[in-house]
């Protein structure tokens, strides 16, 4: 073993290190909330810099771990997302009893995602998956004095255990038919016998569960609504993003031979997901729940992008690009919700009436986020969504593209509901003026900057596209 392995695992090492630092500080017992907040964020920001540390790409631990430029990029995106979540949760964490634990859990989960993405082996994949989801389930319960928080946690852990059990059953059958857990072997050995297809469908449903693909999505809204905002944000952005990365690699690579099956599965589910997500989002009043359904609808678009396997690197590139944009857009929205929820406890659209008059910054950021999610230029979401559809159209699946385009209308409608509440409606009791902390400002600026500039960074998509070629 040489040290280059450690450098190749730089993000994982950094996260582990931070977790242990926090653990020791917590055991030490003297550090206060502010200190935890600062030290963690500082360390996280520093570890972002690791991206520029040149690493060796390839497989390590006999396929248990793998790095590539694309993976590093994805990891840095997710890490950044976590930082944004953390920064914008300042007001919530300030008075929270378990800041260190919060960070340890959330970073463990992130670590799990990193391993999951980097795995070339179903065992590591499964371990990463569990490492990423069990702590999150616990995190859902972190609003300890809220009834719904524990309900959300219960729904999360039980349903995710159920789904992963089903996934495992599939994995075991795959193992039975091929004798290996290694992706490379699998990609050749999975040829599409009935048993393999059945096993694949079981595995697929596990992915679909995590990605909240309709009809595997039913847990999503409840969990999002009940959890603390930061956790909701983490679930809807980081967790989903990581899952999307893994999903597309797994499909394209491991189950590449089953393309004929999963292409149609994706197409059908994408349509259902978009429509159902949109229809449910229409009538939500709680913002977290609203964003749950909106993110379900977004997943529908993601699936369309994934389905465009004809131009693989375009598909992967556009998915990565979309996730990057989605990080900024959704986190901007959740940042605003987080601040307002932490300070006033208000989370419904009704409460946001007249927000622009009292808190123009928050309202503007929210609007930007919503426009980006709705895919309105010049925000980045426009490009993200269009590239997904472009990738999806590479198979010539026009009905799919048409339905997706028409769904954009419905989604615009409900995004505009919030815009309308903030900018147009008058409120009898508007929210008071909120002063933002430095960290929140930083997070918001980052989000706004990302939303506005990503589409115009000429080289960015090209870079992503190029590194996507190597999976």
């Amino acid at each position: 073993m040489d040290l280059s392995i450690l450098i190749s695992m730089k993000f994982e090492m950094a996260l582990t290190l931070i977790i242990f630092i926090l653990l020791f500080l917590k055991i030490d017992g003297r550090a206060g909330n502010q200190f935890f907040f600062r030290i963690t964020n500082l360390l996280l920001v520093l570890s972002l810099g690791l991206y520029f540390l040149p690493a060796r790409y390839g497989q390590f631990f006999s396929g248990m771990f793998r790095t590539s430029p694309l993976l590093e990029f994805e990891k840095v995106v997710l890490l950044m997302a976590t930082i944004i979540i953390s920064l914008s949760s300042y007001h919530w964490l300030k008075n929270f009893n378990h800041v260190a634990e919060f960070y340890m859990m959330i970073l463990s989960s992130l670590l799990g995602m990193f391993f999951m993405m980097s795995s070339d082996n179903l065992l590591m994949f499964y371990l990463g998956l569990e490492l990423s989801s069990i702590p999150v389930a616990a995190l859902c319960n972190f609003d300890l004095d809220k009834k719904i928080s524990s309900e959300a946690a219960m729904k999360m852990i039980l349903s995710s255990a159920f789904s992963s059990a089903i996934l495992l059953f599939g994995v075991s059958l795959i193992y039975g038919t091929t004798g290996s857990l290694d992706y490379y072997v699998l990609s050749r050995a999975v040829v599409g016998t009935p048993l393999q297809i059945m096993a694949f469908i079981l595995i697929f449903s596990g992915f679909a569960f995590k990605l909240s693909v309709v009809p595997f999505h039913l847990w999503t809204a409840d969990v999002y609504e009940g959890s603390p905002v930061a956790v909701t944000a983490f679930l809807s952005v980081v967790s989903k993003g990581a899952m999307a990365f893994v999903f597309i690699t797994t499909l394209y690579w491991v189950f590449g031979n089953l393309g004929g099956t999963w292409y149609y599965m994706l197409a059908i589910l994408a349509v259902v997901t978009m429509i159902i997500g949109n229809l449910f989002a229409l009538r939500q009043s709680n913002l977290k729940r609203f964003f749950a359904f909106s993110s379900i609808a977004q997943v529908g678009y993601l699936l369309i992008g994934i389905s465009g396997f004809v131009k693989a690197s375009l598909s992967i590139g556009s998915v990565v690009y979309f996730v990057l944009i989605y990080v900024f857009s959704n986190l901007a929205a959740f940042g605003v919700i987080s601040v307002i929820s932490a300070l006033t406890g208000k989370e419904t659209i009704e409460d946001y009436k007249g927000l622009y008059r009292s808190n123009p910054t928050l309202a503007l950021l929210m609007a930007l986020a919503l426009f980006s999610l709705a895919g309105i230029p010049p925000t980045a979401g426009f490009f993200g969504k269009l590239f997904l559809l472009t990738a999806g159209s590479s198979t010539g699946a026009w009905p799919l593209i048409i339905i997706a385009s028409l769904n954009l209308i419905i989604s615009l409608y409900y995004y505009l509901r919030i815009v309308r509440a903030m900018f147009i409606d008058e409120s009898s009791e508007p929210l008071a003026k909120i002063s933002l902390s430095f960290s929140e400002m930083a997070a918001f600026l980052l989000c706004a900057g990302g939303i506005l500039s990503i589409g115009f960074m000429k080289g960015l998509f090209e870079v992503i596209f190029n590194i996507s070629g190597g999976l």
Partner: protein, 172 residues
């Protein structure tokens, strides 16, 4: 029918029977015990397959750990002896039918599948071999998963502590 197969069928009946009872009995405490039986039966199955180590782990972790944990939680949340609510008829009916037909289908697919014919020499499953391989960095080494699982256990532990231990509210 050999003795070995006889033992297998007995074990299988035991596992399935107690497993079935575990999910149908209306006494919560009994359900836990049936589960325990079922798990022990599975350990027996492992023994039967000559995977003693796994069987041992099964008994230690499941029987000694998880079931105890479950029983603890039953004590914490339940009046001993109280019967549980009947499942919703419709749902039970649907679930039963669905599970049954899924089982039939699944079995058929498995039955029809031509599994590869084994032609390799089996590796003896000894504890030291497992230990070596578990901590090995080289080919077929499981050091990385091992570490990951340890992180998972750590995280789960912290999570449990935070959730289950209700600390007195800090005055701030």
């Amino acid at each position: 029918m050999t003795v070995s197969s006889f033992i297998f069928y007995v074990l299988a009946a035991f596992i399935l029977g107690s497993g079935f009872l575990a999910v149908t009995t209306r006494k919560l405490f009994r359900a836990a015990i049936y589960l325990l039986f079922s798990l022990i039966g599975i350990a027996g199955l492992y023994f039967w397959m000559n995977y003693e180590f796994i069987a041992a782990v099964q008994i230690v972790v499941y029987v000694g750990g998880i079931v105890v944990l479950i029983i603890f939680s039953i004590f914490l949340t339940h009046h001993v002896g109280a019967e549980m609510e009947r499942p919703n008829r419709l749902r039970a009916g649907f679930a039963g039918l669905a599970a049954f037909f899924a089982f039939i289908f699944c079995s058929l697919v498995i039955y029809k599948n031509q599994f590869a014919v084994p032609d390799q020499t089996p590796v003896p499953l000894t504890v030291d071999r497992i230990g070596m391989q578990m901590l090995s960095l080289t080919e077929h080494g499981y050091i990385l998963p091992f570490e990951v699982v340890s992180m998972l256990l750590l995280a789960a532990m912290i999570g449990c502590i935070v959730i289950a231990m209700k600390l007195p509210e800090k005055t701030s």
